[in-house]
């Protein structure tokens, strides 16, 4: 009806149209992301419990959960374990291995790439719990690994008990490397071959090309990938829980495991939510760190 002549009211209306399109996602974000975080924040100042007297009556306890958290030596151990697990399995393990596989597969023939790619992907598409059970039976006392080494006359080792952190780190590497591999494959394919060829003509060695050209070229991908695998690994629960249950002792108790134990074994949901906020904080700090180093 209005046509072109009524341009000014239409413009005005147009200014708000973005809101209509964004509204669904804003609502979803508020409902499923912001609201739970606010709720968690609120509950972390209460005595919320699954059962017992405290379950009847929600009470505001101020900073009790937080002071308790800072006094609790297990919290410090859990933070330390989380960082070891994170750096060992994600930042170093998955990234470096994923990058190496991607690099070695570059310029190889299609069949080779397809076969190796599928094999590595198998670990990634396997559900976490299946993966945990597979590796549990691999590292178990009567497991595959011990069967192999005893074939060579070496006496069996109780892997899950002697080196528990190493076993869960290896399990997470096995499970997650494919993701980094795929990301790096795409990035490496984008490195223009002309630049590399030019470097070869200039007499650069393979290592020099890698360090001076390839890696700087895909630097942004490395940071993004590091951030993604970090956030994925921070939340790993099922894998560790099924393999070692956080033990022996507290040797593989990471923050998610500790949080679960407080919330659902000791029934202290309020304390559990306070720990979950610590985990959230750790995620935010690490993300900011990556974003800053990305900007440099």
């Amino acid at each position: 009806m209005g046509g072109i002549s009524a341009s000014s009211p239409q413009l005005q209306r147009r200014n708000w149209t973005w809101l209509y399109f964004l509204l669904p996602s804003i609502v979803i974000m508020l409902l499923f992301f912001i609201y739970p975080i606010l709720l968690t924040f609120f509950y972390s100042f209460t005595n919320l419990a699954l059962t017992g007297e405290a379950a009847k009556e929600l009470k505001f306890v101020g900073l009790d959960n937080y002071t308790r958290m800072f006094q609790d030596p297990t919290v410090r151990i859990s933070i330390w374990n989380t960082l070891v697990f994170l750096i060992g399995s994600a930042v170093i393990g998955q990234q470096v291995l994923g990058f190496l596989i991607a690099l070695l597969m570059k310029h190889k023939n299609k069949t080779f790439r397809r076969v190796i790619g599928t094999v590595v992907l198998a670990g990634w598409v396997t559900p976490e719990i299946v993966c945990a059970l597979c590796l549990y039976s691999f590292f178990g006392d009567e497991g595959t690994l011990n069967a192999i080494i005893s074939f060579f006359g070496i006496s069996p080792v109780t892997w899950l008990f002697t080196v528990p952190m190493l076993t869960v780190i290896l399990a997470n590497i096995w499970h997650g490397t494919a993701f980094s591999m795929l990301v790096f494959q795409a990035a490496l394919d984008d490195v223009p071959s002309e630049i590399e060829e030019a470097a070869v003509v200039d007499g650069a060695s393979k290592l020099q090309i890698l360090l001076r050209i390839t890696i700087p070229y895909i630097r942004e991908t490395i940071t993004t990938n590091a951030m993604l695998v970090t956030l994925q690994t921070l939340g790993v629960f099922g894998l560790i829980y099924a393999m070692t249950g956080g033990g022996p002792g507290t040797k593989t108790t990471t923050l998610p495991i500790f949080m679960y134990n407080q919330a659902f074994v000791n029934y202290q949901l309020g304390y559990g939510t306070a720990i979950s906020l610590l985990l959230l904080l750790l995620g935010i700090v690490l993300s900011l760190f990556y974003i800053r180093s990305f900007k440099k």
Partner: protein
Amino acid sequence: MLAKRKWALMSSALLLAVTMGCSNSGSSSAPQAQGNDPAPSQGGGDKAATEKKTITITYRDDGTGEKGTLYKWIKEVSASYPNKNVEIKPTPIQASEGDYFAKIALALKSKDTAPDIVTEDTFMLNSDASAGFLEPLDDRLKGWEDWSNGSFIEAMKKGVTASDGKVYGVPYNTDSRGLWYNKEIFKKAGLPEDWKPKSWDEVLAAARTIKEKAGSDVVPIWMNLGKATGEATSMQTYEMLLYGTGERLYDDASKKWIVKSQGINDALAFIETIAKEKLGPPLSKVLNGQAGNTATREYLPKGKLAISLDGSWITGNYLEGGASPWPEYKDVLGFAPMPTSKGQAPGTITLAGGWALSIPSNAKNKDEAWDFIKFALNKENTQKLVMSSGNITVRADVAKDPEYTQMPFNEIATEYLKNAEFRPAQDKYPEVSTQIQTMVESVATGTSAADAANKYAQDVTRIVGQEHAIEK
């Protein structure tokens, strides 16, 4: 246009009125019908038949599904339940023991998910009762003859009484703990086949003899020592030792948790001795969640374990159709009472646990649920359950029944209950229990008893608060 709208408005108002009327009558008339008119008249018969009530029973399924003892028992009992207007429906939760408590706590919170009957472990009963999840049964129990005429063993009522003095469940089984031992290994090592140790030293002496004489593939003594075995570590190991020293976890008089005592030191010293002299199971086996099953289903029947400090129920595994059938267990195994630390009075000690049927406060059909509980836990039906599960009965009349007493070990296991102690009916117990497991595991893995005890004192004080902790 206007007429059409008016019509729509009127019809929707009508619809609203009708639905409201329905839901109204539904909620108000139902309890009336059952309260005043338990036996429906001829005319109401049809109506009652269409309004058949479903009573749901929630219990823990340990993965056995329809082969599970409880499932089979519920089916059997409900088939013979005279009130045919009620349908009994098992609604199991498949979970590990620890997860089960978290899951029922969540289910009991809401009217939409609460079952009509729930099986409660007596140590969680107090927590769930003080959370307001359970219905006090005192008024209903008054009208039940079995409860007051001595059919139930009096001591067992303590296990279902919460800290407010009210009863929140009807117990259906219990258990005692003691020293299972393999007579064949004892014979080989030159120890008496009818073994009754008088003190902890005698237990240790026997274990040392076995280590020396029975071969390196035999574990002298098995106790659950890990966090992974949860409550089994707290109750079967630590509390059996602690209560045997005469000390308790919680001081009833002052209403405080005992965080330091000679009893704690003695109990830990016993565990330390076992660890240092390597009298116990390999750590990689005992610190994992399957430890209990490894001992009862694998090591004990295969003759690789001499003494096992465990519960009376383990023989349930050896029955036909059990997890690890072993018909010879009657002759090979012995069940000795756990002595007090130095043999002081009462000489032996056991801790008792057990399970009860409770009615959630959010249950929909409380009256029907209660009627069914009375039927399910009468003498005949309780007996069926404890006989098939290998547990001990809480009913005095079942305990006297020859069919029950002729089951191997039932009589002695029931006898041990005379000196039975219960875990403190306190809210904080599950959390304190976690600290116990941490303490026991750290001693088993080489931390000194003194360090572990100090850490326990600190952690428990932090959990229960300075004002609820006491040092002895």
